[in-house]
């Protein structure tokens, strides 16, 4: 029985042997008296719990990756190198700490450790020298006191990294790999945590433990642990599976591994697929995107998930894998009901394949109370292939208007074969009327959601026409 859980914390080795695999990193830190990291929400929204992982980025370089400590399971820390706010000052204040002090970036100070962690990662980001301060770096941190202006100014005024900076020196050496790890028989009830390194191992474990809950980034699953007080007997983490972390931009298709964090997709795309690049910055916050994955977003099958409308618009395919082998599911056939998918027992999502050529017009619209770091009230992915002014193929996909993400097929048909024109848009709008029967909830009324369905198409028309 493997019940050892070891990692590096603020430069020193620590052990969390015997921990319940449902424990979060934040809970464990605070119970140990490392109370600098705060709990403001326990659902990934406020960033007060932010901590840093030393990770290898898609550029092959070591970097500081900030994540929400409240959504990281302790098992995900095995063999990793973690820094908390307590570990950032090196005898004297770190430059990001000094900037926060001098500009009045803290009032009550409860959000401050999280901002310092986010700013610390941004401070060492290699692109900062050319691109300047990235406001997105702090968009996943909430502050109720300052109104953010001094924090934004602190970020914008950060000096360049000093050559002699010991924290930078760390980035010159390789980051720890995400290796295979097992925690078994740790608790009285014998709860288990598996983190295999290959797909074969993963499917074998899944076949052996069909009741295991899969986890990748944990940004949905750990919310369930924290908020619904769910406790899982067996957790199977996919984040170490090499095959699921592949990213392949080939002639006929773009293929994205189910376990590639969204921020890595953002970096790798680099202009290749604008509709997805429009979506990603609107998907939650950088802290979340550093962990969240496409596999998790699809498997959760939330009607308000953001990637489904876009992937529906792109006619993507989902490749599912089990111990029995592989099969391809057209994305249109993935969502079978409210938070239900056509995945079979023992099956997991391995990758998402987006066929080429990409549509000529692709837009993602997200309607929410807040532009950044909000979950959609209504989302729409629109893709049109227009040749010589005529719509060859139209995809109008919506989230937030039905029990599953869904396409408006009648309206699509109304556009196909017609010139992209006022008349065609009006015909499509006629088909959209009553196409969905949305619900009222805290994110918006049924009437508003229903109104958004044609209105977003109108927005697409107005914006493409203007161009």
């Amino acid at each position: 029985m493997a019940s050892e859980l070891r990692f590096t914390l603020n430069g020193a080795p620590v052990s969390a042997d015997g921990a319940d695999p449902n424990t979060t990193l934040l809970g464990w830190l605070r119970a140990r008296g490392l109370t600098g990291s705060k709990e403001g929400c326990a659902e990934g929204e406020c960033g007060a719990c932010a901590v840093l992982f030393v990770r290898e980025g898609p550029d092959g370089q070591t970097r500081y990756t900030p994540v929400n400590g409240c959504l990281v399971l302790l098992g995900a820390c095995a063999g990793q190198e973690v820094l908390t706010v307590e570990g950032l000052a090196d005898g004297e204040l770190h430059p990001v700490q000094r900037a926060m002090v001098e500009l009045g970036g803290s009032q009550c100070g409860y959000c401050t450790p999280g901002f310092v962690v986010s700013l610390f990662a941004e401070y060492y980001r290699r692109g900062r020298a050319e691109e300047g301060f990235d406001l997105e770096s702090i968009a996943g941190n909430l502050c109720r006191c300052t109104g953010y202006r001094p924090i934004r100014d602190a970020g914008r005024g950060l000096p360049m990294v000093d050559d002699a900076d010991p924290r930078r020196a760390r980035l010159g050496a390789p980051a720890p790999a995400v290796e295979a790890f097992t925690l078994e028989g740790a608790t009285e009830g014998g709860r288990r945590f598996f983190r295999p390194a290959t797909l074969a191992e993963a499917t074998a474990i899944y076949a052996r433990h069909p009741d295991a809950r899969l986890v990748c980034g944990g940004t949905d699953l750990v919310v369930e642990i924290n908020q619904r007080l769910s406790r899982f007997e067996t957790i199977l983490s996919l984040e170490g599976v090499a095959e699921l972390r592949a990213f392949d931009d080939a002639e006929d298709a773009l293929t994205i591994g189910a376990a590639v964090p969204l921020s890595e997709i953002e970096e790798r795309l680099d202009g290749a697929l604008p509709i997805l690049e429009e979506l990603l910055p609107l998907f939650s916050s950088r802290l979340i995107r550093n962990r969240a994955t496409l596999g998790g977003n699809l498997a959760t099958a939330s009607p308000i998930g953001d990637s489904p409308p876009v992937l529906l618009a792109l006619d993507a395919e989902v490749i599912a894998v089990s111990a029995e082998g592989e099969r391809s599911i057209p994305i249109d056939a993935l969502f079978t009901g409210y938070r239900q998918t056509s995945l079979r027992p023992g099956e997991l999502i391995a990758r998402v394949r987006i066929p080429k050529p990409f549509p000529t017009v692709g837009r993602f619209f997200k309607v929410s109370k807040r532009v950044h770091d909000d979950i959609s009230c209504v989302a729409a992915g629109f893709a049109l292939s227009i040749e010589d002014g005529v719509v060859q193929r139209a995809r109008l996909a919506y989230g937030g208007v039905a029990a599953t993400p869904a396409r408006a097929k009648a309206a699509e048909a109304a556009l196909e074969g017609k010139p992209w024109s006022r008349a065609a848009v009006d015909e499509a709008k006629a088909q959209l009327a009553g196409a969905f029967t949305p619900m009222t909830d805290q994110r918006g009324s049924a009437a508003y959601r229903a109104a958004m369905v044609p209105s977003l198409l109108e927005k697409l028309w107005a914006e493409t026409e203007a161009r």
Partner: protein, 769 residues
């Protein structure tokens, strides 16, 4: 000079390193501490017929379940009235805690709470203001403030219009949720570490439930991770549960609500419904204003009465209303008990008159800012409760200055040009004023005490009754003490707030923390300084009256002659058996109010400000962005400019949240659907306007307040009304000069969308289809 210097928050280094401790961070310092978790009933109205705790006791790690049987003293934590049973069998709101499980770990307590079995009979709930009015369910009798003859003036007015506005509540969302840790010392007396704005009242409630004299209970408020009024009274039951658990088990007990439970259990800013009629002439001069208000108080009275009163007091905002009547009642509903929140009813009152003035302007087809300026108080004017508006000239001074610095007139034209050219995006520009009365309206709260200790090495400890919640009170108090004693800032340490240092204190609230405590500290320091000057006078053989203490040196005011280090004089004083500690006390002079008559001088003075805001709205979704904000705000002579700037900016952004995206959504069964950050949306850095220009009004000495300063905690909150008014301006641009622009509050994208639909007639077309 220590006062007036722009310095960082006194705990800033602790904040950025994670070293600054908050109540719940202390838990590992209490070995053997037990953890508490509430047993909640998920009905808005119900009776608990039976509770079985045995299944919880069977959960490993569960130690006990606290119930009504464990209450030694009174099972009631109500403050204004005895209407809050701590362990109740009657359920008054969704999520109410009826018992608390204590466990060796938080995990055990949580699992134990899930295991407790309840038999409940659901009842009929009264949800919302309209339902309460229909059911005649009220906490208070009707109250009113009136002047002149509003009915006659309304009749005589050339034009009148009426309106109705519901403004939603607001969750405090202090980043640190409610927390308390109770322990007993060797003599059996109780120490409660509590995240409370009002340690004295927390002490009182803990003493009440334990049936102990107050001298057996000490409450410490180390610092809070935000409070905003939410911890003015609602910290009390949390502390009471911790104290009862601790006495029952003889072990330290920690109570900390996670966000979802904090949201469900603790009260919020009061939702208000207003109905008004306003009479005016063709120039937009208001001749009569008749406003009826209802607030949703939730299930218990809490602070609802004074909150309601402050709404009545502020229904004039910065405008002179000659014939006026404002009145209404607090509704009793099946919701958590709504409570104090920055502005304390003032914002809800002010937003009504601003709503009405916009309606007047649109009816007359005059720009709203012209109508606003036409109605400003002038020097010599009195409010509707007949208090003279001191420094009324500042309203116009600030307004004119801000219009200039924000290039308001040029941008007004620019916005019109933009709107002309863009059918699907419209911009709106608006400027609104703020006048806010400073003092507790409960007169007896306007007092404060301080205890200043000077040690033999010349270092200083300051104790005062105010609590630190991020507003920078301790920073300011350190500056005041350093200034009044004449020592460098580093020599002064402000101690955590404890009831055994300064007794019978008031809540740190009503923006008055630095006015009251600063004056008390100043008095204590001056007593000590006076004694030290006498000692130094003897040492130097000169008249003490000629001596001054500054920057740690005692010397003649004219700089002539020998100078003595402060510490040397202190040492001498000790040897001469001169007392090196002193208390200070302050009570706000000349305030009074006769509630029955609706007349008096409830406020020591007024704080002023104005904001100009520009927004851009998308026609298809109603989503919008704040493009630019300019603010000019009056803080008197700032005690601490960096702190004050932070209060102005932070207050403004919090107000923006209230009026724009922070929507509390209750399901039809009374369940609060927005119980965490994923569904309740505070502003993020993304909502911070790219251009934000904030200035503090120069040359603004406030006579009779500590070092000429003014209170700053609440007034800037209401600068955010400019955002709501700018949105209405932008919405109006989608229509053909609509004669009114109703906009629900908060003005979420959805509500802005519906407002556009109304002004474009699309709503009618939709209804006709």
């Amino acid at each position: 000079m220590s006062v007036g210097k722009a310095i960082p928050h006194e705990s800033a280094e602790g904040h950025v390193t994670g070293g600054a401790l908050y109540t719940d961070d202390l838990v590992t310092r209490y070995p053997g501490c037990l953890h508490a978790w509430p047993v909640q009933v998920l009905h808005a109205r119900a009776t608990v017929d039976a509770m079985r705790v045995e299944p919880a006791l069977a959960v490993p790690g569960v130690v006990t379940v606290l119930t009504a049987a464990d209450v030694i003293g009174e099972n009631n934590t109500g403050v204004a009235r005895r209407d809050e049973v701590l362990f109740d069998t009657e359920v008054h709101y969704w999520g109410q805690a009826v018992a608390w499980v204590l466990g060796e770990t938080e995990e055990a307590a949580k699992m134990g709470a899930l295991a407790v079995e309840l038999d409940v009979t659901p009842g009929d709930a009264i949800l919302g203001i309209e339902a309460a009015i229909a059911a005649e369910s009220f906490h208070t009798e009707p109250g009113q403030i009136a002047r002149g003859d509003v009915a006659a003036a309304m009749k005589a007015a050339p034009r009148t219009l009426s309106g109705e506005l519901f403004v939603g509540g607001q969750e405090h969302f202090y980043l640190e949720t409610h927390a308390a840790i109770a322990s007993v010392d060797e003599a059996g007396s109780v120490l409660v570490q509590s995240s409370t704005q009002h340690p004295t009242e927390t002490q009182e409630i803990v003493a009440r439930v334990l049936a102990r004299p107050k001298n057996q209970v000490v409450v410490q408020s180390l610092r809070m991770g935000g409070a905003f009024g939410g911890k003015e009274v609602q910290a009390n039951p949390i502390a009471a549960v911790a104290a009862l658990g601790c006495v029952k088990t003889s072990r330290p007990v920690r109570v900390r609500l996670d966000r979802a439970r904090d949201f469900a259990i603790s009260g919020k800013r009061h939702p208000f419904l207003g109905r008004y009629e306003i009479g005016f002439d063709d120039t937009g001069r208001v001749l009569a204003f008749d406003l009826e208000l209802w607030s949703d108080g939730g299930y218990s009275l809490d602070l609802s009465a004074p909150v309601f009163h402050r709404a009545l007091f502020h229904a004039d905002n910065a405008y002179h209303l000659r014939d006026v009547r404002v009145r209404g009642r607090v509704c009793k509903t099946n919701a958590c008990s709504h409570t104090a929140f920055r502005g304390f009813g003032g914002p809800q009152g002010m937003v009504m008159i601003e709503d009405a003035l916009d309606a007047v302007a649109r009816a007359l087809r005059v720009p709203p800012h012209v109508v606003r300026a036409r109605n400003f108080y002038q020097p010599g004017d009195t409010t509707h409760y007949e208090q003279e508006v001191s420094q009324a000239d500042r309203i116009t001074r600030i307004w004119d200055d801000l219009k200039r610095s924000s290039e308001f007139d040029a941008r007004w034209a620019e916005v019109a040009r933009f709107n002309e050219a863009h059918p699907n995006e419209k911009r709106g520009l608006a400027i609104t004023p703020v006048k806010f009365g400073i003092s507790f309206t409960a007169k007896h709260f306007n007092q404060a005490g301080a205890l200043v200790l000077v040690y033999k090495d010349g270092s200083v400890q300051v104790n005062h009754g105010g609590t630190e919640m991020g507003q920078g009170l301790h920073t300011k108090m350190q500056q005041v003490a350093a200034q009044a004693l004449g020592v460098p800032l580093e020599r002064v340490r402000v101690m955590p707030t404890r009831t055994d240092k300064v007794p019978n204190t008031s809540a740190t609230a009503a923006s008055s923390g630095s006015d009251l405590n600063g004056a008390a500290i100043q008095a204590a320091c001056e007593t000590i300084a006076e004694r030290l000057r006498e000692v130094a006078g003897r040492m130097l053989a000169i008249d003490p009256g000629e001596l001054e203490i500054a920057d740690g040196v005692v010397a003649r005011a004219d700089g002539q002659g020998e100078a003595l280090p402060f510490a040397e004089v202190v040492e001498r004083a000790y040897l001469d058996r001169v007392q090196l500690s002193a208390t200070g006390f302050y009570r706000t002079p000349r305030i009074h109010f006769d509630e029955a008559a609706g007349r008096g001088r409830p406020f020591h003075y007024f704080a002023y400000g104005a904001a100009a805001c520009e927004v851009e709205v998308d026609r298809f979704t109603g989503m919008y962005a704040i493009r630019r904000v300019d603010i000019l705000h009056d803080v008197g002579d700032s005690l601490s400019p960096l702190v004050d700037l932070g209060q102005v900016e932070g207050g403004f952004m919090q107000g923006v949240g209230w009026l724009t995206q922070e929507e509390l959504w209750w399901a039809p069964d009374g369940r609060l659907g927005t119980v965490n950050a994923s569904t309740y949306k505070l502003p993020t850095v993304g909502e911070l306007p790219e251009e934000l220009h904030v200035r503090l009004l120069p040359k603004a000495t406030e006579p009779g307040v500590v070092y000429g300063s003014k209170a700053v905690g609440e007034p800037p909150f209401m600068l955010a009304i400019s955002v709501r008014e700018a949105l209405r301006q932008a919405v109006s641009a989608f229509g053909e000069a609509p004669s009114s622009v109703p906009l629900a509050s908060p003005a979420t994208a959805e509500q802005v969308f519906w407002a556009i639909e109304r002004v474009t007639g699309a709503e009618e077309r939709r209804a006709a289809e």
